[in-house]
Amino acid sequence: MSDTAIETSVDSSRALNSVARKTKLVGSALVGPALLLVVAINVLPAFYGFYLSLRKLFFFGDEGFVGLDNYIALFSDPFAWQAIWRSLVFTFGSLAIAVPLALLSAMGIRRLGRWGTVLLTVLLVPWAMSPIVVALLWKWILVPSPGGLVGSLFTAFGVPPQDLLTDPVLAMPTLIIIGVWRNFAFAAIILTGGLGQIPRDLYKAAAVDGLGPVETFRKITLPLLAPSLLIVISMLTISYFNEVQTIIGLTGGGPIRRTTTLSYLLYHTGFIELDQGRGNAIAVVMFMINMLLIALYIRILGKQPGGAA
């Protein structure tokens, strides 16, 4: 064992530097294309939209820079605030039904084992359908006459067919239920995965400790499922908050604005009234709210043990 005296040559240190630089370059080159596409498709239009929101733009006619006029008009419009409120009702109303239902399904699916996977596949079918197709389909199912599917169900129970989509009281709940029908299986799939990650030993331990089923659920299932639940809630929140196609197809924001959420207001203002400047202002507001929701989602997840967000 002897230390041979070999000088560290200048050449070799240069080679090392070039390798280190290359590694960094390779990393950037790998992220580059994805970054480029994301920036081009998502980020640039968002900024362009912000720029357009500062202009008076009607029916593709640009009438110049108006500063924050579009925003001021938007926020001084009581119907805009009403739309934000409706968005919250729709979002949290859907969540309140979808999440417990998904949890229940997830637990059933796990108990069913192999058949559970089959059931899950079946439940996922509505989620796989295009929102616009879902809207069409439900419009057809809900035709309020004895010739409609749901109408005939009502008739079978001795109740006249109900105007589920045009009654000011029923329209929003109907939309919520269709939203749940469409999306809850996605929540169920994530929760099923989450349940699978809870060690079975814990349930054995709980049984030994004499915990009842309710207590086991409350003290073991819920806390350990928290990360999955949070994801489900966040993803559904964002998805419901941005829901627009089924609203366009089913109620058109009515009756009497009862289902005009912020996203529908954006559609109505930008694509029906063609007030595109103000439409972009609404888009910017929606983007902000989405950002907020996602930040919240990451924040909460980041605090979870095991959630390395």
């Binding site: 920036v39 796989a128 295009s130 616009i132 006459s145 008739t155 995965g193 997840l301």
Partner: protein
Amino acid sequence: MKLLSRTALVLGCLLAALVALGPIFWALSTSLKPTNRIFAVPPQLIPPDPSLEHYARLVLEGVHWTFLNSGGYAFAAVAVALILGTVAGYALARYPLPGKPLLLVIFVGAMAVPAFAVLLPTQLMFVDLGLYNTYVALPLLYAGHVLPFAVWVTRSHFTTIPRELEQAAQIDGYSRFEAVWRVVLPGAKPALLAAATFGFLHSWNDYVTATTMVDTPDLRTLPVALIFFQGFHGRDWGALMAGVVIATIPPVVMFLLFRKYLIGGFADGSVKG
């Protein structure tokens, strides 16, 4: 007690399956009825004299071409998003990168941009770039929409895979690319399939982007073509429901094929995020 709860479970599941599939079944039933039977009172669950006239009409009016368009766009978008997303997700998980936190913010922030909210600016941009109303417009947009999710899912997956695996493969005589390809990617199958499913559904099901970015019938997608049956003459429920049935087949086939991986893929990809 146990038997009772088991029965309740099975009944509950059957009910759930009925609620999930009932509407599709009704669509199928409607699509097989002659036009003047569609509104019959009381409704006929199973058409007594099924006919394929509505399906024939879809073909006659060229809707099957839009089916291929939709499939092609979705396939291209998923391919682009998966390739770029996996590569970027890998780099984010493994390479030292300048400004990495900012990169992550951009990828996550991109998920917060609702596609339909930026349609107008996107359209104007695409017109300027000469991409409007071309074969690449929709695949490019869909890939862009799905990419942040793909990056996120793959990145989270790669961070959970021990570095030693690919190091071992590199020492075993494989290049870095080969090591990732032969050792890391096989394990990422569920995550990649989850991202692929997500991307396919997004592209296949989109309506608003497709109707805004493309004018020429040759370039049209299936959902847009279907809306033509809700047109000047009112809703042509027979054709619409035939379209609904056809539009639902590919995603369902996909689910059946990937059933095994979906639960794991979605659960892992998102929870570990």
